[in-house]
């Protein structure tokens, strides 16, 4: 059986950054497995700019951002396989792959980094009634068709959901000469970044209708009209508020789902909130030696944070290969996300294994203005940071210091919550 110290499942931004970091940390034997015909993942179809402000202090397009990491992978001669599907990952880290040239292959991995990314929520999961004609696309599929294949999915567009890809595609379709008639969002707030609402909708005069959903799709063969309606606090459409838009295309941008089918079959414990693996401070899952990073772990707002997280996963995988699991034997500290904070990554913390600083990321469940992110060590509030605005579309973070934690040797839980004052 082939064996590698680290096998990285996915050659998108997370997998690339993890590979580079693992090599820099001294691991030679690394293999990246990518199912598509090139490295770079979803960034290849994100031809707009705005990537890399944090990482490179400049605005790059998606392919440019991906290439920065791809170049490092090439320069470091890190091995990768394209057009290669991972069919299975076992609990003892045997990775089964398939491609045209090698057929089915089993690879023994010293450590595995899960970096499979996410998929878009399809129409079925949204229970939108109506016909099932051509012309209904998830926003990412439309993005691929337009930006990579060079085809237009349609001319008159309604978008359901205000996730970032939907917002970006509203602008993209407009620039391609299509008429985007409306963006409807079920929630009373947008699921995307503020800057995307301004740059992709407001600048083009595209209306965003919050608390609205699609209640009917017409067209037997191709979409001919879509009806949206306002929803009440119970999320149910309010009769009498229906508005019908003639259109030939409906794009859906209603949430991303981490793709954890492989993780599940390996036996990795998943969080019901993020749908991603439950990880500790080292981004290690419930299976020792299996790490996770990027959108397979939790859906990110900015790729810069993916790269940063993946770097840690790569470094920790490298450390695991060299040193094995060095547990302190102490019960790990548990993170509790409550009162506005929906989850945290990581979920647990072993202070002995953390770096000097630990970034804990989370998302809020509603829009909060002039509120505080509070961190409690057991019952003691040790952080109370005022934020002018927090929204579900944007990730939040707190940074914990090892030296501060050292002052609390018996700490059991760290609670993160949002407080009005």
């Amino acid at each position: 059986m082939l064996s590698y110290d680290i096998v990285i499942v996915g050659g998108g931004p997370a997998g690339l950054a993890a590979a580079v970091a693992a090599r820099e940390a001294g691991t030679e034997s690394i293999l990246i497995l990518e199912r598509d015909h090139e490295l770079g993942g979803i960034l290849n179809q994100c031809i707009h700019n705005g990537f890399g402000l944090h990482t490179f202090k400049e605005e790059l397009t998606g392919p440019e951002y991906a290439y920065r990491f791809m170049k490092q992978v090439y320069d470091m001669k890190i091995e990768y396989k394209l057009n290669t599907m991972v069919m299975d990952i076992s609990a003892d880290r045997v990775v089964t792959t398939m491609n045209k040239t090698d057929g089915m292959n089993q690879i023994k991995a010293g450590a595995v980094v899960l970096a499979m990314g996410c998929r878009e929520r399809p129409r079925g999961a949204l229970n939108i009634p109506g016909y099932r004609p051509a012309g209904i696309f998830s926003a990412g599929t439309a993005q691929r068709l337009v930006n990579m294949e060079g085809y237009m999915p349609g001319r008159e567009v309604v978008i359901l959901g205000s996730g970032d890809i939907g917002l970006i595609m509203a602008r993209r379709m407009t620039l391609e000469g299509a008429k985007v008639k409306v963006v409807a969002e079920l929630m009373p707030y947008s699921g995307g970044l503020k800057r995307n609402i301004v740059q992709c909708l407001d600048d083009f005069g595209i209306p965003l209708k919050l608390s609205h959903t699609v209640v009917d799709i017409e067209g037997k063969e191709r979409v001919s009209a879509v009806t949206i309606a306002e929803v009440g606090p119970d999320m149910k459409p309010i009769p009498g508020t229906e508005e019908r838009y003639t259109c030939d295309t409906l794009l859906l941008s209603c949430g991303l789902i981490p793709e954890n089918e492989l993780s599940k079959s390996a036996g990795v414990e998943l969080s019901p909130v993020t749908s991603g693996p439950v990880v500790n401070e080292s981004l290690e899952t419930s299976i020792p030696g299996v790490f996770a990073c990027g959108n397979v772990l939790h859906v990110h707002d900015l790729v810069d944070f993916v790269s940063e997280e993946a770097k840690r996963a790569g470094e920790n995988a490298s450390k695991y290969v060299k040193e094995g699991s060095k547990k302190s034997g102490r019960e790990p500290i548990k993170f509790v996300a409550t009162e506005g904070a929906r989850y945290t990554v990581p979920s647990t913390l072993d202070v002995d294994r953390m770096d000097d600083l630990l970034t804990v990321r989370f998302r809020v469940g509603a829009v909060y203005q002039d509120s505080y992110v509070s961190v409690y060590f057991d019952n003691e509030r040790i952080m109370h940071n005022k934020k002018r605005i927090m929204a579900p579309g944007e990730m939040e973070q707190v940074i914990l210091q090892k030296k501060k934690l050292a002052e609390y040797p018996d700490l059991k839980t760290i609670t993160i919550k949002i407080e009005k004052d």
Binding site: M98, D102, E120, P129, L145, M152, R222, P237
Partner: protein, 484 residues
């Protein structure tokens, strides 16, 4: 040319009939208004092989149901399509309605259903742990099964075509009349077709053709059924097909594993006028979810639904299959009112209808008829060694195109290039399952389009979801135009 026999409709009844007729020295063709077989009622149903205890004793429906059920093992083996007798349970949730189960049991026995058994509460919950606590008794029919309706329909049609039956797609029969020589002239959007015998297997439109030629009119109501299909994660939620006790409107909302490992919930039963109205409605889906939840505990509808759809049953007013030659229209043979258990009955329907034609035409049997069909390979059922052997021979089997269902390029190429091959995304989907998984073709549709484009030479801008005007990406983007 004058055909010996023309079948209107390439649904499951028409295709079963075509296969049966292909055993004889007859010139047979099938006219289908859709771009593929299995485009109407046959494509959207519960995918159940019913045991046969529902239909009224002595009815044609009961007879053909039980016969069709019994034919299914051999037929599916010959056609290399999956079929499983997972067993059906009719579950009673009200003590006072237990008597209904005994009635069903007696009717089943009278209909010739084998191995029926009445279960008490304890046996029942042992068999199916996720049943609602209220479930107090059940009728168990081990002969009930699950099947892929697309594959059954497609495989019968393919086999018929391989044995010489012509299929004409995008060809809609409009009117028909019999000339003085007894030849039927069928006018279609693609010209006129002539035949000695015509079989009306037009699904929800079968009343239209019947009423053109018959004195005694029939009336078909499109009875809509909404369904939800759940993620494979939920495929093991129940192992048997769970039915409520039947009502006037039918067998009620079932919860069942599918042959491919999903969970299906449905159908509703909503009588409508429009024979094309396959749109689901919020009311329908809500009703469905409420009813499905009555017989099982904590059904995870909502987040686990991957798609919902609606089908139209061809409900004839007397709730009976209408099969036979119309006396005043010699050579016109009805195969009408085929609603549930139509899928189950289809092999028997095909045999019966072909029998009627043979009684009239007295054809001789073909010497070289081959009832076996090579199925599309299912590499996921192979060992690693077998799969490697396959990939070595044909590397396309090593390239996964549909991630969710693990469908390779090899399977898609087979689906495109075989007899009556796929020409659209839905055609590929129904033959291979590419695009039928949890992402619902989000990832694979551009790739499948590229394969269709490359293999069939259909321009990308002309590739459809399911024929007609269902074009996926009607024009080039600005950058795409620059490529040209």
């Amino acid at each position: 040319m004058t055909y010996d026999c023309i079948i209107i409709g390439a649904g499951v009844s028409g295709s079963a009939t075509a296969r049966e007729l292909s055993k004889y020295d007859l010139n047979v063709c099938v006219l289908e208004k859709g771009e593929d077989v299995c485009s109407g009622t046959s494509k959207a149903n519960s995918a159940i092989v019913h045991a046969g205890f529902d239909a009224a004793e002595g009815s044609l429906m009961a007879k053909l149901n039980v016969e069709g059920n019994q034919m299914m093992d051999e037929l599916c083996a010959d056609l290399e399509i999956p079929f499983k007798r997972n067993g059906s349970l009719v579950v009673c949730i009200h003590e006072e309605e237990k008597g209904g189960l005994k009635e069903l049991y007696d009717r089943g026995i009278a209909n010739g259903v084998k191995d029926l058994k009445l279960l008490d509460k304890e046996e029942l919950h042992k068999m199916e742990p996720n049943l609602a606590d209220e479930a107090c008794a059940a009728l168990y029919a081990p002969t009930g099964g699950i099947i892929c309706p697309f594959m059954l329909n497609i495989a019968m049609a393919e086999n018929a075509a391989d044995n010489g039956v012509d299929f004409f797609f995008n060809t809609e029969a409009e009117t028909l009349k019999r000339d003085d020589d007894g030849i039927w002239h069928i006018r279609t959007n693609n010209g006129e077709y002539k035949t000695k015998y015509v079989i009306n297997a037009a699904g929800v439109y079968s009343d239209k053709f019947h009423n053109m030629v018959a004195d005694k009119k029939i009336h078909i109501t499109p009875r809509r059924g909404d369904y939800c299909l759940l993620d494979k994660e939920m495929g093991g939620f129940v192992s048997k097909t769970i039915f409520p006790q039947p009502t006037k409107l039918g067998k009620g909302v079932l919860v069942s594993p599918t042959i491919h490992g999903n969970l299906i919930v449905g159908p509703t039963a909503i009588d409508i006028e429009d024979k094309e109205a396959t749109a689901t409605t919020a009311a329908g889906i809500n009703d469905l979810i409420a009813k499905a939840g009555m017989h099982v505990n904590n059904l995870p509808v909502g987040r686990k639904v991957i798609t919902s759809f609606a089908g139209l049953r061809a409900h004839e007013d007397n709730h009976e299959f209408v099969i036979g030659e119309v006396k005043e229209a010699p050579g016109f043979i009805d195969c009408a009112g085929i609603e549930s258990p139509g899928l189950t009955s289809s092999p028997a329907i095909g045999k019966m209808v072909a029998g009627i034609v043979c009684d009239l035409a007295k054809p001789s049997k073909k010497a070289n008829w081959n009832g076996k069909r090579k199925g599309i390979l299912n590499p996921s059922e192979m060992t690693i060694e077998e799969r490697n052997e396959l990939i070595k021979k044909n590397p396309a089997y090593g390239q996964i195109i549909c991630r969710c269902e693990s469908i390779s390029e090899g399977e898609i190429l087979d689906a495109i290039h075989r007899t009556l091959g796929a020409r659209s995304l839905d055609g590929v989907k129904r033959r291979t399952r590419a695009g039928m998984g949890r992402c619902q073709a989000g990832f694979c549709s551009p790739r499948v389009m590229e394969i269709i484009n490359r293999e069939l030479g259909i321009p990308m801008e002309k590739i459809t979801k399911s024929g007609g005007k269902s074009v996926i990406a009607p024009e080039r983007s600005k950058a795409g135009k620059g490529d040209e």
